[in-house]
């Protein structure tokens, strides 16, 4: 083989081996509510862009925001707005946190399918989760003790539920805390007298959503604001995103990413 060709082939081989070194990598971390959107979007994006490397992990909204503030992730997923104290810490760390709304979510109040209750008012949901109502018979249901299932305190879903429904009152001390939306859904599905709350994307035939103040959670009612237990889902970046982070965010917010959010049961913005 001619020397020139050998050199060219060697150069191509080296370049091929070195390609992974040039592949851009970003880390997306935070909310377990936003996690399915981030994971699916990352999967589809990387299929279309093989050189991209997007690592997605959960941990909760608070974990994600703490990571973007200390620089250990590129995009923070959050199912709640960033707090003033977190913004102050970000400012003192020299971080300019920018919010991107990537979808809407409704928090559905869910019960076991065998439970005859179909509708609750917001104040009834609040009374259940703060311990003022403890038996289904007080709501016209069967004479059974209510088993309340809640998210743990690092969860954005928990924070949003506290703010939107509980008026920041404490969850009843006997509530069973779960670390993820899926865990709440699974526990409610297995416990006939249970009541919990999950993001819309975690509804399934194994659990039943109840209407709140006469409105069932759906894409339309969440987007128009008729369903009052709704909230925006965020991805936060440090300043205006650049490079792969910008491309990934544009993908998530674009028509294809929003369609994925719809498919997953969230409320796309397009």
């Amino acid at each position: 083989m001619k020397t020139v060709n050998k050199i060219l082939l060697t150069g191509l081989a080296v370049l091929g081996l070195a390609m992974p070194a040039f592949a851009e990598k970003i880390v997306v971390e935070g909310s377990t509510t936003v996690l399915p959107i981030a994971q699916k979007a990352a999967e589809v994006y990387m299929q279309k862009n093989p050189s991209a490397d997007i690592s997605v992990r959960g941990g909760g909204s608070s974990v994600g925001i703490a990571s973007i503030i200390d620089g250990s992730c590129d995009i923070a997923d959050s199912s709640r707005p960033i707090k003033d104290t977190e913004l102050e810490k970000a400012a003192s760390n020299g971080r300019d946190i920018k919010a991107h709304v990537v979808a809407m979510d409704g928090i559905a109040v869910v019960i076991h399918p065998s439970n005859g209750i179909n509708a609750l008012s917001k104040s009834q949901v609040k009374d259940i989760f703060t311990g003022k109502i403890s038996n289904w018979s007080q709501l016209g249901g069967s004479n059974e003790k209510i088993v309340a299932i809640s998210r743990d305190t690092s969860s954005g879903t928990f924070e949003a539920f506290m703010e939107l429904v509980l008026d920041k009152q404490k969850v009843r001390p006997d509530a069973i805390m779960q670390a993820s939306n899926q865990a709440v859904a699974t526990t409610v599905a297995r416990t006939p007298n249970a009541i919990g709350y999950v993001g819309l994307g975690f509804l399934s035939d194994a659990i039943k959503a109840v209407s709140v103040d006469g409105i069932m959670p759906s894409k339309e009612t969440v987007l128009t604001g008729k369903y009052k237990v709704g909230r925006p889902l965020f991805m936060y970046t440090n300043g205006a995103p650049k490079g792969l982070a910008k491309e990934f965010l544009d993908f998530v917010k674009g028509p294809e990413g929003q369609a994925l959010a719809d498919e997953l049961g969230y409320v796309g913005l397009k």
């Binding site: 960033i82 400012a91 404490k170 925006p232 929003q258």
Partner: protein
């Protein structure tokens, strides 16, 4: 065409949120109208409202919101008030009931992105830097078996703290002046919580991973300034390396070892006209260089979530100075359970602590003055219960049983014996 409309709406929103008269509701109404008219989709409306609110919130938090004065955006006012009923019983006939108050008011202001200043005042007595309590009804001089007060010094406003702080970066902070104790303490065995050191401190912290961070707190405390004495500027230095380790989602461990170094204390006049440390005449007999390990194991929702949190904590102290006799060690251990912090209605926290401090384990001017008046050569049992009455207000019951470690001869300060003391405090606390 739609893009031009959205750009115009964004510009209009920018004006609306920057104008001092604009309210958040007006922006929402505007966007709602545009959605109703079909100019914006509901999704676009939600994005506009939410992202604009987040941006304004960020600007206010970083002091860049142009329509509010910078000093207003960067200044924090805080304070608290405590009303206390205290019952002390030393013997069946020697009892005392007091109503006491403590009030603190302070401000913290951001000077620039790296510096801030804090100034605070509190009730208290100039003669006792460890206590910010004042007793209601006390006006003239008072003699009792255990307490002699100087007339005219009962209700003063003292300087609680005044400091400047410089953050080199997110890991290193320098503080100078009179400031909150920068050393982490697992208990109040060695330090009264009202005692704010005077000097300089350097705090270092670094997050090693998502489950571990390291810290190192360093303090130089100027204990006194008296040019008439041979030891004009007695000082204390402290170096405290430590770590925070998250063992699991529900278990975390914090630990530190503090080395204390004293200069100009040995053979100097005692800082008060009485002391439970060993003295030669009225001078300290020993130095108090010591080692102080401490730890706290925190558990979230132990016992199947019966309580929100629990913690086991302890610390020890050992005087390593030369020629100190056997009475050179001390320790405290305890457990607490309930809410991590009592800050809302219905929150509660219970605490049990045992403490023992030998005569020369530590200087007797620093420990918690509620526990046996802050003396050394004592052992003490404490039980406390705090209950949240509402946001930022709580009730606390605190009971101490304490006694001397060695028999004390009869004197003007009390009878012979171990001098047991019962103290009950009932506090109503309010913070803002």
């Amino acid at each position: 065409m739609k893009k031009l409309i959205i750009i115009a709406v964004l510009a209009l929103l920018s004006v609306c949120v920057m104008a001092p008269q604009a309210k958040a509701g007006e922006v929402d109404l505007l966007v709602q109208k545009l959605v109703e008219k079909g100019i914006l989709t509901p999704g676009e409306g939600q994005v506009l409202i939410t992202e604009t609110k987040e941006e304004v919130k960020k600007q206010i938090a970083s002091g860049k919101y142009e329509n509010l004065p910078t000093w207003l955006q960067t200044m924090k006012l805080k304070g608290d008030f405590r009303l206390r009923y205290q019952h002390d019983r030393h013997t069946s006939t020697d009892t005392e009931n007091r109503a006491r108050i403590r009030a603190r008011l302070g401000v913290e202001a951001k000077v620039n992105d790296q510096m801030k200043v804090g100034i605070g005042i509190a009730t208290g007595k100039v003669s006792d830097p460890r206590s910010t309590n004042v007793t209601l009804g006390q006006t003239g001089s008072k003699d009792s078996a255990y307490n002699t007060e100087t007339p005219g010094s009962f209700k003063n406003i003292i300087l609680d703290y005044a400091y400047g702080e410089y953050a080199f970066n997110k890991d290193i902070t320098l503080i100078g002046g009179k400031f909150a104790n920068p050393l982490w303490r697992a208990t109040d065995l060695l330090w009264d919580s009202d005692l704010n050191p005077e000097g300089v401190a350097i705090k270092f912290s670094h997050k090693m991973s998502s489950s571990m961070d390291l810290f190192m707190n360093n303090l130089l405390f100027i204990l006194d300034e008296d040019t008439t004495k041979e030891s004009k500027y007695p000082m204390m230095g402290a170096i405290q390396p430590g770590m925070n380790f998250k063992i699991s989602d529900s278990l975390s461990l914090k630990g530190a070892v503090t080395g204390y170094f004293f200069s100009g204390v040995e053979k100097r006049d005692t800082f008060r006209n009485w002391s439970t440390n060993s003295v030669n005449g009225s001078n300290y007999k020993y130095n108090y260089n010591s080692v102080n390990p401490s730890m706290e194991l925190s558990i979230k929702e132990p016992l199947w979530g019966v309580v929100p949190s629990a913690a086991i904590f302890s610390e020890g102290v050992f005087n390593v100075s030369k020629d100190v006799d056997n009475a050179r060690g001390g320790f405290a251990a305890g457990v607490k359970f309930g809410a991590e912090k009592v800050s809302n209605k219905g929150d509660w926290q219970a605490k049990l602590i045992y403490a023992k401090l030998s005569r020369d384990a530590w200087m007797d001017v620093f420990p918690d003055s509620d526990r046996y008046s802050g003396k050394t050569n004592m052992k003490s049992y404490e039980a406390a219960l705090a209950y949240g009455l509402g946001k930022n207000t709580y009730l606390e019951l605190d009971y101490y049983y304490s006694q001397s470690l060695s028999k004390v001869a009869e004197s003007t300060t009390g009878p012979a014996g171990y001098r047991p003391a019962h103290t009950l405090q009932i506090d109503w606390n309010l913070k803002f």
